[in-house]
């Protein structure tokens, strides 16, 4: 093994010396025009991104795909390392030389001297030509010189890996990044790189992958290859799912790069006409109920409503409406999320299902009363546009009525005529659409276009149309009532429904859901062994055996059938006592049987249960025995006596005496 390693260590410099000899003639050419770049090798990801340009990219991507396949499939080193290295040297040298030559050509074109490259460059983003490719060229030369020794020092494993990579036709400039980050780099690398044609074919068609180099290269001549160098970067297809061991935790996903969520503007008027303007960050599925978000200056806590977070109020809302702003927050699972309000000078606010606020919308709509917020400077132009669309009778309000500073509000704006849009029309929001709109309102709206069964939405058509409007609900012709509401058979039945305006390409959908049929009881309040939920009292453990019992307050000493079953009611300022007693009450005696007035005091019987024989000699019934014997000694009578009750009381007296004797 040691001998093998020694041979490897000795052989590698020779191989790279050979490689460098092939590369060096081009290095001078490559470095001269590159005055804008540092000349150091790019980070791995950046390098790989830049490699999506040109044929070298195709080769590289092909190789990367193969590396990934190989790493994932067998994860073994080439069986014959010396042979593999020789093959690698032979294979790598022409590829490196070829790619260096290509970049030299590209660089000369990148200097914008040549006329003929324009159509090639037209679709390519600037960075793909000016930044990435030259940097890659320099990086290639530098990395070859500087990183190979360090790669060698990493030992046989790194050498073997390098050899295996090179054997797979990977250009050496890519190899340079791998030495010091072996496994991780190989795992990450293919995901960030444009997948090869072969991988794409396999993914899309489910067919066996054909190596891209083998498949494409024979069909391309040198000119085509050169042309490919300047091809615009391809749109990235969805990343291929990477196999991940079951025990490996998924890294938290970042959504920071995604499109920011919208911040809408909300306005509500009170009965005196004062308005409150706030901002409503949009809430989508999967977002936390509470998020702390930063706007650069302060932190605001967002509390979830249904479709938005709770309204945000700012002192400088006028500036924010005009200039826009962004909120950034982090979710509990560490995903980043952003909300953005694009600054504007005109906002149109319309009624929205699920809130009593008027919420910002795209534009005015014919025959719909909306609110317009505009900056004070453009008010004359705004009013001119509104006048041309037939708006009359709206009211204006300013800061004294709650409008943001520097803004004017127009309430009750109802356009009657559609207006034609101009190119890049600055008054687009004020120009109503020409066609009709389906509106759903009323009913009991639950969430996300779902209404409660029994309380369906009212379907109306807003706007005007040159042709007669035929409304279909679930494909059935709908009838219009006098109130202008459309209905068809089954439109209010639970399930999914669709509304369609025939010939006008307008449709919308809604669904109706039945209310749930079960609600879980839970201990909203807990007191000892009792849980309270609304009017329900749930008793646990021993308390579950207790029963509510009512008795006159004159007889608060309660006795059960078993010796030891004694309960004294709490004193109350009422004629009767009611409460939980932990046993079935048989007798109720005066509080102090020996010192009560026997003319008025009575023994109350509630059951005819005889004393329990099992525990009759138990040693725990002193209070029970004393109460019975005291009442007996006092000569208290049973209220409403009968033969049975007298006999029963006799049995209790007998049991109490026996227990007392037994205790002596």
């Amino acid at each position: 093994m040691k001998v093998l390693l020694a041979v490897l260590v000795a052989a590698v410099p020779i191989v790279y010396w050979l490689v460098r000899r092939r590369v060096r003639p081009h290095e001078a050419k490559e470095r001269e025009p590159d005055t804008n770049h540092s000349g150091t090798s790019l980070p791995l990801t950046e390098t790989t991104e830049s490699l999506s340009v040109g044929e070298a990219t195709a080769d590289t991507a092909m190789a990367e795909a193969r590396v990934q396949e190989k790493a994932e499939a067998d994860n073994v080193l080439p069986p014959d390392l010396p042979n593999a290295m020789e093959e690698a040297a032979a294979a790598t040298a022409p590829v490196v030389a070829e790619s260096a030559e290509r970049y030299a050509v590209e660089d000369s074109l990148g200097g914008n001297e040549a006329e003929g490259q324009s159509e090639l460059n037209a679709a390519a983003p600037e960075h793909s030509q000016e930044t990435c490719a030259p940097a890659l060229v320099n990086g290639t030369a530098e990395s070859l010189e500087s990183e190979i020794p360090s790669a060698l020092s990493t030992g046989a494993e790194a050498i073997a890996r390098r050899a295996s990579l090179e054997a797979l036709n990977i250009p050496s400039e890519l190899v340079s990044g791998f030495e010091d980050k072996p496994a991780a780099a190989v795992q990450v690398f293919p995901a960030d790189v444009q997948p090869s044609e072969a991988v794409l074919l396999e993914t899309r068609n489910g067919e066996e992958a054909v190596p891209a180099a083998d498949a494409v290269e024979p069909a391309l001549d040198q000119e085509e290859k050169a042309a490919l160098l300047y091809r615009a970067p391809r749109q990235r297809p969805p990343r291929l799912p990477q196999r991940r061991p079951a025990n490996q935790q998924e890294k938290p996903r970042s959504v920071s790069a995604e499109t920011p969520l919208e911040i809408q503007v909300g306005v509500i008027f009170d009965r005196f006409g004062f308005c409150s303007v706030g901002l409503l960050p949009k809430r989508t599925e999967g977002l936390d109920d509470e998020v702390d978000a930063k706007d650069g200056r302060s932190v605001v806590r967002l509390s979830a409503l249904d479709e938005w977070y709770q309204e945000l109020q700012f002192d400088d809302i006028g500036d924010r409406l005009r200039n826009g702003f962004e909120l950034k927050g982090e979710l509990a699972d560490r995903r980043q999320v952003r909300w953005r309000l694009s600054g504007r000078t005109i906002y149109v606010l319309a009624a929205h299902q699920g809130t009593n606020k008027l919420v910002s919308t795209q534009r005015l709509h014919l025959d719909r009363p909306d609110v317009v917020l505009c900056t004070a400077e453009i008010l004359p132009q705004v009013e001119a546009v509104l006048a041309s669309s037939g708006c009359e009778g709206y009211t204006k309000f300013d800061e004294s009525y709650g409008a943001p500073r520097g803004w004017i509000g127009l309430r009750g704006v109802v356009p009657r005529r559609a207006l034609l849009l101009e190119d890049s029309d600055p008054f687009y929001p004020l120009k109503p659409e020409t066609d009709i709109q389906i509106e759903l309102d009323g009913g009991i709206y639950l969430l996300n276009s779902v209404w409660l069964a029994g309380y369906p939405p009212q379907i109306r058509i807003a706007g005007t149309s040159d042709v007669p409007v035929k409304v279909l609900i679930d494909g059935k012709p709908a009838q219009q009532t006098d109130e202008g509401v459309f209905a068809a058979e089954g439109h209010d039945a639970p399930g999914q429904h669709s509304v369609y305006c025939e010939g006008l390409a307008r449709s919308c959908s809604y669904s109706i859901e039945e209310a749930p049929e079960s609600w879980e009881e839970w201990p909203a309040y807990g007191f000892g062994q009792a849980g309270i939920c609304g009017p329900l009292v749930e008793l646990r453990d021993d308390a579950a055996k207790q029963r509510l019992f009512a008795v006159q307050v004159s007889n608060p000493l309660l006795l059960g059938a078993e010796p030891g079953q004694v309960f004294r009611c709490s004193p109350r300022k009422s004629a009767s006592w009611k409460g939980y007693v932990p046993f079935d009450v048989v007798w109720a005696l005066p509080a102090q049987p020996l010192i009560c007035n026997k003319k008025t005091a009575r023994i109350l019987q509630f059951r005819e249960t005889l004393p329990s024989a099992l525990n009759i000699r138990a040693n725990s019934g002193a209070a029970w025995c004393n109460a019975i014997l005291d009442a007996s000694r006092k000569g208290l009578r049973i209220a409403n006596p009968s033969e049975n009750s007298t006999a029963c009381w006799r049995e209790y007296r007998k049991a109490a005496r026996n227990i007392r004797k037994g205790r002596r």
Binding site: L446, W519, A524, S576
Partner: protein, 313 residues
């Protein structure tokens, strides 16, 4: 929407956040009315509805398993015996189906539907005995709670039970505090404004209300100890310490009344409200507001007095 539809909405959604509830109430097309309670001040609509939903046992707010939010209680008939007759109040979630089932299973029983401001309609069924109503609830597919007011009150700790109080000093700094002290002397019972220094003074005793951003916090200073506790419990504890009684029970009218400033704690009040199903009426006696609870059986009044450590006037 009306309060009835709000309850349908709450029932369908089952639970949610306080903000969602507030948003839903804001959709109500009800006009703002003046506040009913002198003590509470002009409460906003969503607070008035929230308290009524809590009192009637429809929805629990900010409790176990729904902190900072709300959760709908399972539908149940809360039974209360009035002599030889039993009344069943429909509490908790409502759906069309539940209401239909009850209607269908009435079998000639008397059903009342009473409208009340800021509150869903009160649905009450009267029957000659509890068993009849228990069977009705079973047939309608809902729960029932026998002797609901007594069952609730029997399980509540008395107001001098300090187990749930937290030892916490009164705030000693801050500009935005609105501080008041519960002043009780002879027939005068009111909140009196005091300064932060007075509230922190060494010999200061009694109940203090610190309000900031419309959120009150109550502190009880008793000897060397200071607790934070619910305001209503603090008030009755102070009354108990001063041996002052405020409950008045009319055995003929079966009514229990208290000064509006001494509204009982939530669960005690729920028990009193469930006797009739009606929130308390507000009346003015000698320039002072009083809350009157109706159809209160004597033993329930006695139980409430015991929980509140009060004797009847």
């Amino acid at each position: 929407m009306t309060a009835n539809e709000l309850l349908l909405w709450l029932s369908a959604r089952k639970q949610g956040s306080w903000a969602q509830f507030k948003g839903a109430v804001e959709n109500l097309g009800l006009a703002e009315a003046d506040s009913e309670g002198a003590d509470e001040g002009p409460l906003p609509l969503h607070q008035r509805i929230r308290y009524n939903l809590e009192r009637l046992g429809h929805v629990e707010f900010d409790t176990e398993e729904c902190s900072d939010g709300w959760r709908t209680v399972p539908p149940a008939l809360a039974l209360c015996q009035h002599g030889c007759e039993t009344a069943g109040i429909l509490c908790g979630a409502r759906t069309r189906k539940i209401l239909g089932n009850i209607e269908r299973e009435l079998n000639g029983l008397q059903r009342e539907q009473i409208s009340h401001p800021d509150c869903p309609d009160i649905i009450r069924v009267r029957a000659p005995g509890s068993e009849v109503l228990v069977n009705l609830a079973q047939r309608a597919g809902i729960r029932s709670q026998a002797d609901a007011p007594a069952a609730l009150l029997s399980r509540l700790p008395q107001i001098d039970w300090t187990g749930a109080w937290k030892r916490e000093p009164v705030p000693s700094s801050g500009k935005d505090w609105d501080i008041k002290h519960l002043f009780i002397h002879k027939k005068v019972m009111k909140w009196q404004a005091v300064s932060l220094r007075e509230a922190n003074a060494e010999g200061a005793e009694g109940l203090f209300r610190f309000t900031r951003f419309q959120t009150p916090q109550y502190f009880l200073r008793n000897g060397r100890e200071t607790f934070t506790l619910p305001g209503a419990i603090g008030k009755y504890y102070v009354l108990h310490l001063g041996r002052r009684n405020v409950l008045k029970y009319g055995s003929k009218e079966k009514t229990l009344s208290v000064p509006a400033i001494f509204r009982p704690p939530l669960l005690t009040e729920r028990a009193l409200v469930l006797c009739s199903g009606l929130p308390p009426s507000v009346s003015e006696v000698h320039g002072r507001h009083r809350l009157t609870y109706q159809d209160i059986p004597e033993e329930v009044a006695g139980l409430a007095a015991e929980v509140l450590k009060q004797d009847f006037l």
